[in-house]
Symmetry: none
Amino acid sequence: MTTVNALSEVAALMGDPARASMLSLLMDGRAHTASELALTAGITAQTASGHLSRMVDGNLLAARAQGRNRFYRLASSDVAHAIESLMTIAGTRAPPASMAAAWRRDPDLRFCRTCYDHLAGQVGTAVTDALTRSGYIEPKGVRDWTLTEPGELFCKRIGVDVPGARRAGSRHFARQCLDWSERRPHISGALGAAIADTFFRRGWAEKLRRSRTVRLTDSGRRALSSHFGAAV
Amino acid sequence: MTTVNALSEVAALMGDPARASMLSLLMDGRAHTASELALTAGITAQTASGHLSRMVDGNLLAARAQGRNRFYRLASSDVAHAIESLMTIAGTRAPPASMAAAWRRDPDLRFCRTCYDHLAGQVGTAVTDALTRSGYIEPKGVRDWTLTEPGELFCKRIGVDVPGARRAGSRHFARQCLDWSERRPHISGALGAAIADTFFRRGWAEKLRRSRTVRLTDSGRRALSSHFGAAV
DNA sequence: AGGATGGTTCGATTGCCACCGAACTATTGA
DNA sequence: TCAATAGTTCGGTGGCAATCGAACCATCCT
């Protein structure tokens, strides 16, 4: 019976019109602020706040404070999957997700850049998504990642210096860093830096002078496809 | 807005404890009478009747009158899929300890069960993994499989009615269905049902009465090993 | 510092809906 | 024909939860 209650609780969380429209917006895979979500749901900020904290409690959403904003995103791809399957029987198709078109302006910096010493932008999040999807890294707590056993092997295979990253003093090993253009987390910390280093060392990417912009080379594009199963 | 409302309406239908337990019972893929459903939900017949007609209106259930009984079943495999995916995130909510306890309580269910009309659990994912590993099926898009040429031959060899599955009206041919206990995809859709049917027809597996649990027979275990190269 | 912005908490109101008792229809069986 | 069983419809009740105004906290900006 516990499982039944859990089922109805999750479904009930999605069963309120205001919460459903928030979830719909979040189906673009990005993180959105509380006020943004309140606006699209057509409710006041107070009400939205209540809904959001309930959905965080229910493990539907994950929240992250950044400055005075608070960003909410879907807690996992499982949640997205469930919403999609509900939309299927509701007779509506998943949103076209052509948000990408809006970001076409100013492509270079959004496409790939360094964030301190690790990769950010579309490439950074694509790499992170790929690692997550393959089960190489898993979210740990609110702002860290765990490198799994298969992930360790994968890193060794492509030449990421994991032992070196572990040795990096008191520095955090693998952190979730919110990407400001993609509004989703990418991997940072010592491991993120080691991954970026691999990209530069193997000629997959090169830093442009006097800029945070990073150019993905042709071999980098191939490596993304073959090693990460990601297309950008 | 329509699309959001539709989403919340469907979710709200599943979001009531009484309706959720009815849906859970119906996940065995069979039809049940109104009083049977009322009993498992722990409510009176009148209340159940209201719930049931609402779910029929909402295209979650289909009803068929037979004598003075009225049988209800899930309206489509899409509904079953949506429920499964909700169970997936509902399962992650529970801490690992209680999850393990639930599995300990019913290890058979985790081992092999029907998900609407196809195989799920360890056996379901093992079969799917084996088909993938042998190149008999390949992921197509995010939620479908392609049956390859060798796969077609293999199905013919072991007696899976592929032409029949292809003929199955507007039903999806081969879908990726996320397994809530294994947290990996297994094969569903018309082809998944045809494969399950083969298991039952050839005596490799048998349904346990009044339950979604499926027992793998000895010959089924041998078949898994010889035909699929899988051990469970 | 102090104002502006983003977000949350609290309390009170309101409307919806799950529930049951009672009465009703339909089918079966004697 | 009558009695029993399965199911539905109707009306009234009760509880829960979505909502907003108001006050409050945190952060940013000048």
